[in-house]
Symmetry: C2
């Protein structure tokens, strides 16, 4: 392992050996419909015995884990440790998932940056010999998130044009030590909190953009690379507003992003699906990673990408107290399949 | 690094190079009063410009970090990464602390087990060469926690005899790579979620006990040790109810705990301080670790201990939905000062 600035470069890269994405109805109607390993038309999972949205989100996580481990062809008892987190207060979707799985567990909170944070920690553990098989997972659920962060759905509140739609989705990755077949994790950069005093809870893209720019700039500076060294740079989830701001900011920095895609703009058709500025939620970038980015790397359609998940670190309490919304972005560099 | 079962043993142990504990008024009146590096008589921090309990908790964290880094004699710019988390929904005390500190940051959620989880991850990063200087920190605040998990203080709700008092306290540790002076971290064991169907939010000790027993038993089995191999085994925070249950359980397992202390029973005088069954909150075990355990190891009064922080993984939402309360316990093994 080599450390350059905030970036950890793996000399013997661990690999993402298997992955799976699970989603709900709206996600099954979007451009990535065929990318999901599992979709449900009933995101309440009523027939499966779920009594509320929070339980349903946890079940969606378990579907992603089950399918991921099935692809990896290992039982859950062979997993050494799991990193998981979600948007629910006290990360209960993940806690209840891990109760069912019974795997050693380190709980994570990174808001919508969770997929990159858990994948980064999983890669560190696999690269450092702390574990042979590590799970990284996260989720979000539109209905659980709306009533927690904004208003209960029953109120029928109007959504502003800058609002983003919390994805009902989950993603799970199994990371293994160097030498296993899969998609190599080349580096990890843990982000620093940025706060540019955005106070609008319906404009997450603007709140998170500075964190994305900060981590990207630190990564490029530490590694001596620039955007054109990558087949693609994926952020998640800035939506249309945050994406436009990021392009503007990076152009000002002399590093225009010509090969950038945002997971929040990939998961839904922003013209026809009534998601306003795009998707969000920890499950959004997780599902795009597991449904699209990793498969394209595995198939040789991409050979080197940055996956930069962004999170807004407020709560409903701090928002009502008038606090601004800090953001964070963690970056995972992925290479062509080995 | 050697892996045995769920336990990571460090062949070249990283060290806790510096630490600090910060607390409030009640904590300054308890048996560990002199153990704190900082205490305030106004836990609202009104004169410091805090407008609410949540901000005050974040400020308490920053006090602990400031003092810890001052003892280590390094500026915060020299810290490679920080692991932090707390009990507030979306871990906002830590998020806002990290906004002020500007250090690369991985957010953690482990409820009251957070100090052991962050310290364990910090030790892994320092041992594996991922970082040279790592911060591990956490906090809790009685007033922020009560209104979030139970009822606002203004309601004047009666407390049951099994209830525990959330500590207004914070602890911070600076972990450095092997070879630095300090208290060595000999091993880390990340726990597995346990749920013995306790539904009483005023009996956290009973809810968390099975997790403590599970992690202890896995640790002893993996390492071939037994309780008498340690000068002391500290849990945090089971309180009097959980402690009695743990002693009963471990005796049944043939591993009686004669040298066990619970951080929840150490921080307050349970006879005179009106804390019912003892202290709790992520800051409770953090303050006892930084105020008592680490100083005793540094002074040669202890030579080998287990620090086993326990967390209850519910939220107010899951509690009201009738879910049972899962628990988790992470274990950090500490040695005599080098």
């Amino acid at each position: 392992m080599t450390r350059r600035g905030d970036t950890l470069l793996f000399d013997a890269p661990p690999t993402v050996a298997a992955w799976a994405a699970a989603g709900g109805k709206k996600e099954s109607e979007g451009p990535l419909a065929s990318a999901f390993d599992f979709v449900t038309q009933d995101a309440a999972f009523g027939e499966q015995g779920c009594e509320n949205w929070e339980q349903a989100e946890s079940l969606l996580q378990r579907k992603a884990v089950e399918l991921c481990l099935r692809k990896a062809d290992i039982p859950r008892s062979k997993v050494d440790i799991a990193f998981a987190g979600d948007l629910q207060a006290q990360c209960t979707a993940s806690n209840y998932t891990m109760r069912e799985l019974g795997i050693p567990f380190a709980g994570i909170y990174g808001a919508c940056s969770t997929m990159a944070e858990t994948l980064g920690l999983a890669a560190v553990f696999a690269a450092g010999g702390m574990a042979e098989r590590v799970l990284a997972l996260t989720s979000s659920h539109f209905c659980a998130a709306e009533r927690q962060f904004r208003t209960p759905l029953e109120y029928g509140a109007k959504r502003t044009p800058t609002a983003q739609w919390t994805a009902t989705a989950a993603g799970a990755c199994l990371v293994r030590a160097h030498g296993s077949a899969g998609v190599p994790v080349l580096s990890v950069t843990f982000g620093r909190v940025q706060d540019f005093a955005v106070h609008d809870i319906n404009n997450m893209g603007a709140a998170m953009m500075p964190a994305a720019a900060s981590t990207l700039l630190r990564y490029f500076s530490a590694t001596g690379t620039s955007p054109q060294d990558f087949d693609a740079i994926f952020t998640g989830d800035l939506g249309e507003v945050g994406t436009a701001l990021l392009h503007e900011q990076m152009a000002k920095e002399g590093l225009p992003l010509d090969n950038h895609k945002d997971c929040g703009c990939l998961l839904y058709d922003t013209n026809s699906q009534n998601v306003q500025a795009g998707g969000s939620g920890a499950g959004c970038s997780a599902a795009v990673l597991c449904g699209k980015i990793l498969p394209m790397l595995a198939a040789g359609q991409l050979r080197r990408v940055l996956f930069l998940a962004t999170g807004a670190l407020m709560s409903q309490t701090t928002f009502l107290q008038g606090e601004s919304i800090p953001g964070i972005a963690h970056c995972v560099e992925l290479g062509g399949a080995v």
